[in-house]
Amino acid sequence: MSEILLCNQPMKADFLSNSCGIDPDLIHGRGCPKPASLSAFTPYVLGQELSAFDSQIISTLSAPKVANNLTNLSLSFGGDNTIALAEMTKKLQEYNVGLMGASTSVYANRLGGFAGAVKEYQDALMSYRSAINSNAASKALAKQKAFKAFQNLQIRFKHELNAINAGVKARRGTPLSSATRATNIARSSHNVAKLNVTSQAQAHNLVKFTQHAKFLGNGLAVIDFTSRVGNIHNEYKAGGEWERELFVESSSFAVSALTGTAVVNVGAAALGLLVVATPIGWVGLIVGGVAVAGTAAAASIGMNNVVKNNSGGVYDSIMKWISGV
Protein backbone atom coordinates (compact mmCIF):
# COMPACT_ATOMS: atom_id res chain seq x y z
CA MET A 1 0.00 0.00 0.00
CA SER A 2 1.33 3.42 -0.92
CA GLU A 3 1.68 6.02 1.77
CA ILE A 4 0.63 9.48 0.68
CA LEU A 5 1.85 12.71 2.27
CA LEU A 6 -0.34 15.80 2.18
CA CYS A 7 0.08 19.23 3.75
CA ASN A 8 -1.99 22.39 3.79
CA GLN A 9 0.92 24.85 3.65
CA PRO A 10 4.22 24.96 1.71
CA MET A 11 7.00 23.26 3.61
CA LYS A 12 10.76 22.76 3.32
CA ALA A 13 11.81 19.11 3.09
CA ASP A 14 14.52 19.50 5.75
CA PHE A 15 11.95 21.00 8.14
CA LEU A 16 9.96 17.84 7.65
CA SER A 17 12.93 15.66 8.50
CA ASN A 18 13.67 17.74 11.62
CA SER A 19 10.15 17.88 13.02
CA CYS A 20 8.64 14.58 11.92
CA GLY A 21 11.64 12.39 11.27
CA ILE A 22 10.74 11.79 7.65
CA ASP A 23 13.78 11.26 5.46
CA PRO A 24 13.56 13.76 2.56
CA ASP A 25 15.07 11.13 0.25
CA LEU A 26 11.92 9.09 0.64
CA ILE A 27 9.59 11.80 -0.67
CA HIS A 28 8.61 11.71 -4.31
CA GLY A 29 6.44 14.23 -6.12
CA ARG A 30 4.68 14.00 -9.42
CA GLY A 31 7.42 14.44 -12.03
CA CYS A 32 9.98 15.53 -9.42
CA PRO A 33 11.71 12.92 -7.23
CA LYS A 34 13.17 14.16 -3.93
CA PRO A 35 11.87 17.75 -3.99
CA ALA A 36 13.59 20.35 -1.77
CA SER A 37 10.30 21.89 -0.72
CA LEU A 38 6.73 20.64 -0.68
CA SER A 39 3.88 22.71 -2.08
CA ALA A 40 0.52 22.85 -0.35
CA PHE A 41 -2.38 20.66 -1.41
CA THR A 42 -0.18 18.40 -3.52
CA PRO A 43 0.12 14.69 -2.94
CA TYR A 44 3.60 13.18 -2.45
CA VAL A 45 4.43 9.51 -2.18
CA LEU A 46 6.56 8.18 0.68
CA GLY A 47 8.82 5.28 -0.26
CA GLN A 48 12.22 4.10 -1.47
CA GLU A 49 11.39 4.82 -5.06
CA LEU A 50 8.47 5.87 -7.20
CA SER A 51 6.76 2.82 -8.68
CA ALA A 52 4.48 2.94 -11.71
CA PHE A 53 1.53 2.26 -9.42
CA ASP A 54 2.50 5.14 -7.12
CA SER A 55 2.83 7.62 -9.95
CA GLN A 56 -0.56 6.55 -11.22
CA ILE A 57 -2.06 7.19 -7.79
CA ILE A 58 -0.58 10.65 -7.38
CA SER A 59 -1.54 11.71 -10.87
CA THR A 60 -5.13 10.70 -10.04
CA LEU A 61 -5.00 12.60 -6.75
CA SER A 62 -3.25 15.64 -8.23
CA ALA A 63 -6.36 17.17 -9.81
CA PRO A 64 -6.67 20.44 -7.81
CA LYS A 65 -10.20 19.80 -6.55
CA VAL A 66 -9.43 16.24 -5.45
CA ALA A 67 -6.15 17.20 -3.80
CA ASN A 68 -7.75 20.11 -1.92
CA ASN A 69 -10.65 18.07 -0.61
CA LEU A 70 -8.46 15.14 0.27
CA THR A 71 -5.99 17.28 2.20
CA ASN A 72 -8.70 18.98 4.21
CA LEU A 73 -10.53 15.73 4.86
CA SER A 74 -7.36 14.00 5.97
CA LEU A 75 -6.33 16.88 8.22
CA SER A 76 -9.62 17.01 10.02
CA PHE A 77 -10.59 13.31 10.05
CA GLY A 78 -7.26 11.52 9.75
CA GLY A 79 -6.05 9.47 6.81
CA ASP A 80 -7.11 6.00 7.85
CA ASN A 81 -10.47 7.35 8.82
CA THR A 82 -10.92 8.99 5.44
CA ILE A 83 -10.33 5.65 3.76
CA ALA A 84 -12.55 3.79 6.20
CA LEU A 85 -15.26 6.41 5.84
CA ALA A 86 -15.36 5.91 2.09
CA GLU A 87 -15.61 2.13 2.60
CA MET A 88 -18.40 2.41 5.14
CA THR A 89 -20.46 4.80 3.03
CA LYS A 90 -20.27 2.41 0.12
CA LYS A 91 -21.37 -0.52 2.29
CA LEU A 92 -24.27 1.36 3.83
CA GLN A 93 -25.48 2.41 0.41
CA GLU A 94 -25.65 -1.22 -0.65
CA TYR A 95 -27.96 -2.11 2.20
CA ASN A 96 -29.83 1.14 2.53
CA VAL A 97 -33.45 0.63 1.52
CA GLY A 98 -34.19 -2.50 3.51
CA LEU A 99 -32.19 -1.19 6.44
CA MET A 100 -33.75 2.22 6.69
CA GLY A 101 -37.28 0.91 7.01
CA ALA A 102 -37.41 -2.18 9.05
CA SER A 103 -34.47 -2.37 11.41
CA THR A 104 -35.05 1.05 12.96
CA SER A 105 -35.81 -0.01 16.47
CA VAL A 106 -33.37 -2.88 16.68
CA TYR A 107 -30.30 -1.31 15.11
CA ALA A 108 -30.60 2.45 15.49
CA ASN A 109 -29.67 2.53 19.14
CA ARG A 110 -26.72 0.22 18.64
CA LEU A 111 -25.20 2.52 16.05
CA GLY A 112 -25.83 5.43 18.38
CA GLY A 113 -23.99 3.55 21.11
CA PHE A 114 -21.14 2.79 18.73
CA ALA A 115 -20.72 6.45 17.80
CA GLY A 116 -20.73 7.28 21.51
CA ALA A 117 -18.07 4.69 22.30
CA VAL A 118 -15.84 5.94 19.47
CA LYS A 119 -16.27 9.46 20.80
CA GLU A 120 -15.25 8.35 24.29
CA TYR A 121 -12.15 6.69 22.89
CA GLN A 122 -11.36 9.82 20.94
CA ASP A 123 -11.75 12.00 24.03
CA ALA A 124 -9.46 9.72 26.02
CA LEU A 125 -6.81 9.95 23.28
CA MET A 126 -7.12 13.72 23.16
CA SER A 127 -6.71 14.11 26.89
CA TYR A 128 -3.66 11.83 26.70
CA ARG A 129 -2.27 14.07 24.00
CA SER A 130 -2.81 17.21 26.02
CA ALA A 131 -1.25 15.55 29.06
CA ILE A 132 1.84 14.82 26.92
CA ASN A 133 1.99 18.34 25.55
CA SER A 134 1.70 20.01 28.95
CA ASN A 135 3.98 17.36 30.46
CA ALA A 136 1.46 16.74 33.20
CA ALA A 137 2.05 14.11 35.87
CA SER A 138 -1.11 12.28 34.87
CA LYS A 139 0.38 10.94 31.63
CA ALA A 140 0.32 7.28 32.60
CA LEU A 141 -3.22 7.56 33.92
CA ALA A 142 -4.40 9.22 30.71
CA LYS A 143 -2.76 6.51 28.64
CA GLN A 144 -4.45 3.86 30.74
CA LYS A 145 -7.79 5.58 30.23
CA ALA A 146 -7.32 5.55 26.47
CA PHE A 147 -6.53 1.83 26.55
CA LYS A 148 -9.59 1.19 28.67
CA ALA A 149 -11.84 3.13 26.30
CA PHE A 150 -10.41 1.14 23.41
CA GLN A 151 -11.08 -2.12 25.22
CA ASN A 152 -14.65 -1.09 25.89
CA LEU A 153 -15.07 -0.28 22.22
CA GLN A 154 -13.68 -3.66 21.24
CA ILE A 155 -15.79 -5.70 23.59
CA ARG A 156 -19.06 -4.04 22.80
CA PHE A 157 -18.72 -3.30 19.11
CA LYS A 158 -16.49 -5.98 17.67
CA HIS A 159 -18.63 -6.49 14.58
CA GLU A 160 -18.71 -2.81 13.63
CA LEU A 161 -14.98 -2.39 14.21
CA ASN A 162 -14.23 -5.40 12.04
CA ALA A 163 -16.44 -4.01 9.30
CA ILE A 164 -14.62 -0.70 9.40
CA ASN A 165 -11.10 -2.06 9.76
CA ALA A 166 -11.48 -4.81 7.17
CA GLY A 167 -10.79 -2.44 4.27
CA VAL A 168 -7.74 -0.77 5.82
CA LYS A 169 -4.47 -2.64 5.43
CA ALA A 170 -2.02 -0.30 7.14
CA ARG A 171 0.90 -2.37 8.38
CA ARG A 172 1.09 -0.89 11.85
CA GLY A 173 -2.68 -0.98 12.25
CA THR A 174 -5.04 1.94 12.57
CA PRO A 175 -6.10 3.82 15.68
CA LEU A 176 -9.31 1.82 15.58
CA SER A 177 -7.54 -1.52 15.44
CA SER A 178 -4.74 -0.90 17.93
CA ALA A 179 -4.62 1.27 21.01
CA THR A 180 -0.81 1.25 20.97
CA ARG A 181 -0.79 2.72 17.52
CA ALA A 182 -3.29 5.34 18.60
CA THR A 183 -1.35 6.44 21.66
CA ASN A 184 1.86 6.59 19.63
CA ILE A 185 0.13 8.89 17.17
CA ALA A 186 -1.26 10.99 19.97
CA ARG A 187 2.24 11.39 21.41
CA SER A 188 4.03 12.58 18.30
CA SER A 189 2.76 15.99 17.33
CA HIS A 190 2.44 16.98 13.70
CA ASN A 191 0.56 19.33 11.46
CA VAL A 192 1.30 17.24 8.41
CA ALA A 193 -1.42 14.67 7.94
CA LYS A 194 0.66 11.57 7.39
CA LEU A 195 -2.69 10.00 6.62
CA ASN A 196 -2.84 8.72 10.23
CA VAL A 197 -4.87 10.46 12.96
CA THR A 198 -7.87 9.43 15.05
CA SER A 199 -11.18 11.10 15.02
CA GLN A 200 -14.78 10.31 15.45
CA ALA A 201 -15.21 10.60 11.69
CA GLN A 202 -15.98 6.95 11.08
CA ALA A 203 -18.99 7.27 13.23
CA HIS A 204 -20.12 10.37 11.41
CA ASN A 205 -22.02 8.57 8.67
CA LEU A 206 -23.39 6.13 11.17
CA VAL A 207 -24.66 8.91 13.39
CA LYS A 208 -26.43 10.51 10.46
CA PHE A 209 -27.92 7.13 9.63
CA THR A 210 -29.11 6.73 13.22
CA GLN A 211 -30.86 10.06 13.12
CA HIS A 212 -32.67 9.06 9.92
CA ALA A 213 -33.73 5.79 11.47
CA LYS A 214 -34.98 7.38 14.69
CA PHE A 215 -36.82 10.06 12.77
CA LEU A 216 -38.52 7.40 10.69
CA GLY A 217 -39.57 5.38 13.73
CA ASN A 218 -40.96 8.36 15.64
CA GLY A 219 -42.56 9.78 12.51
CA LEU A 220 -44.48 6.58 11.88
CA ALA A 221 -45.82 6.57 15.44
CA VAL A 222 -46.99 10.18 15.09
CA ILE A 223 -48.69 9.50 11.74
CA ASP A 224 -50.40 6.44 13.21
CA PHE A 225 -51.59 8.32 16.27
CA THR A 226 -52.79 11.32 14.27
CA SER A 227 -54.87 9.16 11.95
CA ARG A 228 -56.48 7.46 14.93
CA VAL A 229 -57.40 10.75 16.59
CA GLY A 230 -58.67 11.92 13.18
CA ASN A 231 -60.96 8.89 12.93
CA ILE A 232 -62.50 9.61 16.33
CA HIS A 233 -62.96 13.27 15.49
CA ASN A 234 -64.61 12.43 12.17
CA GLU A 235 -67.05 10.12 13.90
CA TYR A 236 -67.85 12.87 16.41
CA LYS A 237 -68.41 15.44 13.66
CA ALA A 238 -70.63 13.04 11.72
CA GLY A 239 -72.80 12.73 14.82
CA GLY A 240 -71.99 9.02 15.15
CA GLU A 241 -71.11 7.00 18.22
CA TRP A 242 -67.71 8.55 18.85
CA GLU A 243 -67.31 6.77 22.18
CA ARG A 244 -67.52 3.48 20.28
CA GLU A 245 -64.91 4.75 17.80
CA LEU A 246 -62.69 5.82 20.72
CA PHE A 247 -62.95 2.32 22.17
CA VAL A 248 -62.10 0.74 18.82
CA GLU A 249 -59.10 3.02 18.10
CA SER A 250 -57.59 2.99 21.57
CA SER A 251 -58.01 -0.72 22.13
CA SER A 252 -56.55 -1.59 18.73
CA PHE A 253 -53.62 0.77 19.37
CA ALA A 254 -52.94 -0.73 22.79
CA VAL A 255 -53.28 -4.38 21.80
CA SER A 256 -51.28 -4.01 18.57
CA ALA A 257 -48.52 -2.10 20.37
CA LEU A 258 -48.35 -4.81 23.04
CA THR A 259 -48.20 -7.54 20.39
CA GLY A 260 -45.35 -5.75 18.59
CA THR A 261 -43.51 -5.22 21.87
CA ALA A 262 -43.77 -8.87 22.87
CA VAL A 263 -42.58 -10.04 19.45
CA VAL A 264 -39.59 -7.67 19.51
CA ASN A 265 -38.69 -8.84 23.00
CA VAL A 266 -38.90 -12.53 22.16
CA GLY A 267 -37.06 -11.85 18.89
CA ALA A 268 -34.23 -10.01 20.64
CA ALA A 269 -33.77 -12.92 23.04
CA ALA A 270 -33.80 -15.36 20.13
CA LEU A 271 -31.24 -13.23 18.30
CA GLY A 272 -29.02 -13.29 21.37
CA LEU A 273 -29.14 -17.07 21.58
CA LEU A 274 -28.48 -17.27 17.84
CA VAL A 275 -25.35 -15.15 18.27
CA VAL A 276 -24.11 -17.51 20.98
CA ALA A 277 -24.79 -20.59 18.90
CA THR A 278 -23.44 -19.47 15.50
CA PRO A 279 -20.53 -17.36 14.21
CA ILE A 280 -22.93 -14.76 12.87
CA GLY A 281 -21.36 -11.54 11.57
CA TRP A 282 -22.56 -7.95 11.62
CA VAL A 283 -24.43 -8.34 8.34
CA GLY A 284 -26.19 -11.34 9.85
CA LEU A 285 -27.08 -9.23 12.87
CA ILE A 286 -28.65 -6.58 10.68
CA VAL A 287 -30.55 -9.20 8.72
CA GLY A 288 -31.73 -10.77 11.97
CA GLY A 289 -32.76 -7.34 13.25
CA VAL A 290 -34.71 -6.71 10.06
CA ALA A 291 -36.42 -10.08 10.42
CA VAL A 292 -37.41 -9.40 14.03
CA ALA A 293 -38.62 -5.88 13.27
CA GLY A 294 -40.49 -7.13 10.20
CA THR A 295 -42.22 -9.91 12.12
CA ALA A 296 -43.12 -7.48 14.87
CA ALA A 297 -44.52 -5.03 12.34
CA ALA A 298 -46.52 -7.74 10.58
CA ALA A 299 -47.93 -9.11 13.84
CA SER A 300 -48.71 -5.61 15.07
CA ILE A 301 -50.46 -4.57 11.83
CA GLY A 302 -52.39 -7.86 11.75
CA MET A 303 -53.44 -7.41 15.36
CA ASN A 304 -54.55 -3.87 14.63
CA ASN A 305 -56.82 -5.15 11.83
CA VAL A 306 -58.26 -7.99 13.89
CA VAL A 307 -59.01 -5.73 16.85
CA LYS A 308 -60.44 -2.96 14.66
CA ASN A 309 -62.77 -5.40 12.94
CA ASN A 310 -64.00 -6.95 16.15
CA SER A 311 -63.73 -4.54 19.05
CA GLY A 312 -66.86 -2.69 17.87
CA GLY A 313 -68.80 -5.84 18.56
CA VAL A 314 -67.07 -6.19 21.93
CA TYR A 315 -68.09 -2.62 22.78
CA ASP A 316 -71.69 -3.33 21.79
CA SER A 317 -71.76 -6.46 23.97
CA ILE A 318 -70.34 -4.60 26.96
CA MET A 319 -72.90 -1.83 26.52
CA LYS A 320 -75.72 -4.34 26.25
CA TRP A 321 -74.47 -6.13 29.35
CA ILE A 322 -74.24 -2.86 31.32
CA SER A 323 -77.72 -1.75 30.30
CA GLY A 324 -79.05 -5.20 31.18
CA VAL A 325 -77.62 -5.15 34.71
Binding site: A254, T261, V276, G302
Partner: protein
Protein backbone atom coordinates in the same frame (compact mmCIF):
# COMPACT_ATOMS: atom_id res chain seq x y z
CA UNK B 1 -70.91 -12.16 20.21
CA UNK B 2 -68.83 -14.26 17.78
CA UNK B 3 -65.93 -16.44 18.85
CA UNK B 4 -63.26 -14.04 17.64
CA UNK B 5 -64.98 -11.14 19.35
CA UNK B 6 -64.83 -13.13 22.55
CA UNK B 7 -61.06 -13.61 22.17
CA UNK B 8 -60.51 -9.98 21.20
CA UNK B 9 -62.45 -8.89 24.27
CA UNK B 10 -60.25 -11.12 26.44
CA UNK B 11 -57.12 -9.68 24.79
CA UNK B 12 -58.26 -6.11 25.41
CA UNK B 13 -58.89 -6.95 29.07
CA UNK B 14 -55.47 -8.63 29.36
CA UNK B 15 -53.82 -5.65 27.66
CA UNK B 16 -55.36 -3.23 30.13
CA UNK B 17 -54.16 -5.39 33.04
CA UNK B 18 -50.68 -5.63 31.51
CA UNK B 19 -50.66 -1.85 31.06
CA UNK B 20 -51.49 -1.37 34.74
CA UNK B 21 -48.73 -3.81 35.76
CA UNK B 22 -46.32 -2.02 33.37
CA UNK B 23 -46.91 1.32 35.07
CA UNK B 24 -46.80 -0.23 38.57
CA UNK B 25 -43.55 -2.08 37.92
CA UNK B 26 -42.07 1.00 36.25
CA UNK B 27 -42.99 3.25 39.16
CA UNK B 28 -42.27 0.90 42.04
CA UNK B 29 -39.17 -0.97 40.87
CA UNK B 30 -37.53 0.55 37.80
CA UNK B 31 -37.70 4.11 39.10
CA UNK B 32 -35.72 2.92 42.10
CA UNK B 33 -33.25 1.07 39.86
CA UNK B 34 -32.74 4.11 37.62
CA UNK B 35 -31.77 6.20 40.63
CA UNK B 36 -29.43 3.60 42.10
CA UNK B 37 -25.89 4.19 40.76
CA UNK B 38 -25.20 0.44 41.04
CA UNK B 39 -28.00 -0.53 38.71
CA UNK B 40 -28.36 2.62 36.60
CA UNK B 41 -26.13 1.29 33.81
CA UNK B 42 -27.33 -2.30 34.02
CA UNK B 43 -30.78 -1.79 32.53
CA UNK B 44 -29.95 -2.79 28.96
CA UNK B 45 -30.70 -1.11 25.67
CA UNK B 46 -33.65 1.26 25.35
CA UNK B 47 -35.02 0.84 21.83
CA UNK B 48 -37.67 3.39 22.68
CA UNK B 49 -37.94 5.23 25.95
CA UNK B 50 -39.37 2.99 28.66
CA UNK B 51 -37.98 -0.20 27.17
CA UNK B 52 -35.61 -0.52 30.13
CA UNK B 53 -38.70 -1.43 32.17
CA UNK B 54 -39.21 -4.45 29.94
CA UNK B 55 -35.49 -5.31 30.08
CA UNK B 56 -35.55 -5.19 33.88
CA UNK B 57 -38.69 -7.32 34.00
CA UNK B 58 -37.10 -9.85 31.67
CA UNK B 59 -33.97 -10.08 33.79
CA UNK B 60 -36.09 -10.71 36.90
CA UNK B 61 -38.45 -13.16 35.17
CA UNK B 62 -36.09 -15.33 33.11
CA UNK B 63 -34.56 -18.42 34.70
CA UNK B 64 -30.96 -17.71 35.75
CA UNK B 65 -29.44 -20.15 33.26
CA UNK B 66 -31.13 -18.45 30.29
CA UNK B 67 -30.16 -14.95 31.49
CA UNK B 68 -26.58 -16.10 31.94
CA UNK B 69 -26.48 -17.41 28.39
CA UNK B 70 -27.82 -14.14 27.01
CA UNK B 71 -25.45 -12.01 29.06
CA UNK B 72 -22.42 -13.92 27.85
CA UNK B 73 -23.33 -13.32 24.19
CA UNK B 74 -21.86 -10.44 22.16
CA UNK B 75 -25.32 -8.89 22.25
CA UNK B 76 -25.26 -8.69 26.06
CA UNK B 77 -25.58 -4.88 25.97
CA UNK B 78 -29.21 -5.32 24.86
CA UNK B 79 -30.29 -7.09 28.03
CA UNK B 80 -30.37 -5.93 31.61
CA UNK B 81 -27.84 -7.52 33.94
CA UNK B 82 -29.87 -10.02 35.94
CA UNK B 83 -27.25 -10.67 38.62
CA UNK B 84 -26.93 -6.99 39.58
CA UNK B 85 -30.67 -6.48 39.38
CA UNK B 86 -31.53 -9.47 41.55
CA UNK B 87 -29.05 -8.32 44.19
CA UNK B 88 -30.67 -4.90 44.32
CA UNK B 89 -34.36 -5.78 44.35
CA UNK B 90 -36.76 -7.08 46.97
CA UNK B 91 -38.90 -10.19 46.75
CA UNK B 92 -41.92 -8.02 45.85
CA UNK B 93 -40.02 -6.37 42.99
CA UNK B 94 -39.06 -9.73 41.56
CA UNK B 95 -42.60 -11.05 41.86
CA UNK B 96 -44.04 -7.94 40.20
CA UNK B 97 -41.44 -8.11 37.41
CA UNK B 98 -42.10 -11.76 36.67
CA UNK B 99 -45.86 -11.28 36.76
CA UNK B 100 -45.68 -8.32 34.40
CA UNK B 101 -43.20 -9.91 32.02
CA UNK B 102 -44.99 -13.22 31.59
CA UNK B 103 -48.37 -11.54 31.38
CA UNK B 104 -47.03 -9.29 28.62
CA UNK B 105 -45.40 -12.12 26.67
CA UNK B 106 -48.44 -14.40 26.98
CA UNK B 107 -50.83 -11.62 25.95
CA UNK B 108 -48.64 -10.40 23.09
CA UNK B 109 -47.89 -13.86 21.79
CA UNK B 110 -51.55 -14.93 21.95
CA UNK B 111 -52.28 -11.77 19.97
CA UNK B 112 -49.77 -12.81 17.32
CA UNK B 113 -51.21 -16.33 17.39
CA UNK B 114 -54.73 -14.97 16.96
CA UNK B 115 -53.58 -13.01 13.91
CA UNK B 116 -52.10 -16.20 12.51
CA UNK B 117 -55.34 -18.15 13.07
CA UNK B 118 -57.35 -15.31 11.58
CA UNK B 119 -55.17 -15.19 8.50
CA UNK B 120 -55.62 -18.90 7.77
CA UNK B 121 -59.38 -18.46 8.09
CA UNK B 122 -60.19 -20.37 11.29
CA UNK B 123 -62.81 -17.86 12.41
CA UNK B 124 -64.69 -17.54 9.14
CA UNK B 125 -68.26 -18.74 9.47
Amino acid sequence: MTTIQYYVGLLILATILTGILFVLFGQITVRKLRKNPKTRDALGLEYVSGWDIINAAQALAFPRSLSKKLERSPLSFIYANSLVLIENTSRLDRFLGSLFYWMMIVTGMSGAFLVLLESVGIFEP
